[in-house]
Symmetry: C2
Subunit: 224 residues, 2 copies
DNA sequence: TCAAAAGTGTTAGATTTACACCCATGA
DNA sequence: TCATGGGTGTAAATCTAACACTTTTGA
């Protein structure tokens, strides 16, 4: 297949922007880079695409390698391909964002990989073009969260309406009116009120809600 | 740099979804593939990313190679990376969509490259995953066209309001109320009415408008 | 004279926004 | 008893959607 050989091959990697939500803050998992070039710099977690896997598979593998979690919600951010983006060699990277419930991430595993949850608004300078990736991922995720019920991936299975509101505030970057927010939630039958009450976050206690995906599929009228 | 060598390299190509607008229809440039594998199949126009150029540069080069036009508006669609997407070798492709004014494309050059404008709703089966690329490009372009004034790239510098409306109808895939549409246009001061009249499309003649980018930058309140 | 496209306002309904107080409880 | 977060409704303003007729002119 000489046709291909007129051209040059490059390394292709994936980089993951893993979003979490905790203490009313949107967070991203970053760590100190463990390899040259750029050893010690803050960086996203990534890996190379192998010969026998698709880019999506590589991202999925990288995500579960880091978190131990499978079936993570994940979407492609795009390809980043400036010639000198990697100081070592020519590497093209495809970024993915992922949403996980912080509680699902085993603390021990997190420390082993030496990654940390950092507030989206306090991200330090990162290796290469990773800041750009984070910003684009945030923008895309924000957009998607308005029209698709993906935010629940960042919450525990049971959550209070205040938690849900704080999540949307953190992602959107602005405050939301409590009554208007709750009015909109009431219109969405797939966000179900349970009889359970959360007593951790307030003295009075707040009803816990759950997202019913089956009900959503039947009547997907999501808008926030 | 042995670290990189543990991993395998792949070819990276770009594929271009070039949108045009003519006869009230949204069109895409496709041609018969001139090389193996897949010779003779309908296909997007593409090319390989060279060692010394970014992916964006490769897309830009490919676009001007095909059209002879420089400074084409172009946005990345995403990376496509299934292992067997290319029947010959492992090739990852990054798709880009581009918007051009059909009139800017020299007919002779178009015939030389043996590409044709095909209605978006009549795209045949294309090589590899190119249909998927087209659909994703269309979706992204549609979204962007609602909130950013990129549609003018598909029109001549002077256009009638009916042309503009037909464009939005073709891209959005549904009819728009003429009066409501014109009302919204009137609110946008950067869409300027000229004193010129187009007599080609109607007996009565219609005023020609132009998009004033400088005025848009000063007050970017676009929404359609 | 008629066919074909250009141009023009109003109204009802839906959606969005702003806004303030009482409740239940644990400390 | 008081501080904290939970929970609730209404009214004004804005936005959206539906809708029909007159104008101009070339054939």
């Amino acid at each position: 297949m000489t046709f291909y050989n007129e051209h040059s091959k490059v390394w292709v990697s994936v980089d993951c922007i893993i979003f979490g939500f905790d203490e009313s803050k949107l967070k991203v998992l970053i760590g100190r880079r463990q390899m040259d070039p750029g050893r010690g710099e803050w960086s996203l977690y990534g890996g190379f695409v192998a010969a026998d896997e698709s880019i999506d598979e590589a991202a999925k593998r990288t995500l579960s390698e880091l978190t131990g979690i499978h079936n993570i919600f994940m979407r492609q951010v795009g390809a980043f391909g400036k010639v000198d983006r990697d100081p070592g060699e020519r590497v093209i990277s495809v970024a993915y964002y992922a949403l996980i419930n912080v509680k699902d991430y085993d603390e021990k595993l997190r420390r082993e990989h030496e990654v940390e949850w950092v507030n989206i608004n306090e991200i330090p300078q990162l290796y290469s073009d990773h800041n750009e990736m984070v910003m684009k991922a945030w923008k895309l995720m924000k957009q998607k969260m308005r029209t698709e019920p993906i935010g629940f991936r960042l919450l525990p299975p049971l959550f209070t309406l205040t938690q849900l509101q704080r999540l949307y505030e953190a992602v959107g970057g602005e405050e939301i009116d409590k009554r208007n927010f709750r009015k909109r939630i009431k219109d969405m039958d797939f966000i179900e009120k349970t009889e359970l009450i959360d007593k951790l976050s307030s003295k009075r206690g707040a009803f816990l809600y759950r997202f019913n995906n089956k009900a959503y599929k039947e009547d997907p009228n999501f808008k926030l």
